[in-house]
Homo-oligomer: 120 residues x 2
């Protein structure tokens, strides 16, 4: 499957998904599939959270806690699940706060191997 | 229940827990219950991740995504689940990578109301 097809599989399988995006830590998107219209500025959101992930990666290195694998952030309005793909890239699933968090997390983990292989 | 008792309930109920800690965003701990001996410098870990949470809080405000509620970070060695208690404080559960993530997340959410009430 291509990157786009794998992202499509994820977004169409997880209720409440707004977008799935593959991104570099510098905030530059590699590929993206958006599902729903939303009030959020998803580009700003991606760039802001990419900076946050870089910070988490740095902190994880400082405390020698191994390699960062997954990060999730829930607010009163949205949920974001991030899986690290390689040293440069991650995949993020952005969903509404009442989206299916468990399924999103499972599917992102499952598909991250395919995505990482596709990008290697 | 006191803060300490509630933290004790959480750590004794979730397999793989290393420590549960209530902390301010400036990295100063309010109360803490440690269960297992660990190679990690838990104090350094708490301070580093408190700085990260402050950054996530800021990013969440920038993108107008509501209030931050929960953050989780998984590495190849540890898992951290954080619930926001109020504007100043959060509770964090730090566990081994193979700890019971689902139960930890559930219990932290359930008990966060009690903890917030105790701290108000």
């Amino acid at each position: 499957m291509s990157l786009r097809e794998t992202l499509n599989t994820i977004v169409s399988s997880v209720d409440g998904t707004l977008t799935a995006i593959i991104m570099a830590y510098d905030g530059i998107p590699i590929d993206e599939v958006a599902v729903k219209q939303t009030d959020f500025d998803l580009q700003l959101l991606s760039v802001e959270y990419a900076a946050v992930l870089k910070e988490i990666k740095r902190a994880t290195e400082v405390i020698k806690a191994g390699e960062m694998e997954e990060v999730s952030i829930s607010t009163t309005q949205i949920r974001i699940i991030v899986r690290v793909l390689n040293d440069d890239l991650f995949v993020a699933l952005i969903m509404k706060n009442d989206g299916n968090f468990g399924k999103g997390r499972y599917l992102l983990k499952l598909k991250s191997y395919e995505l990482a292989k596709e990008l290697s």
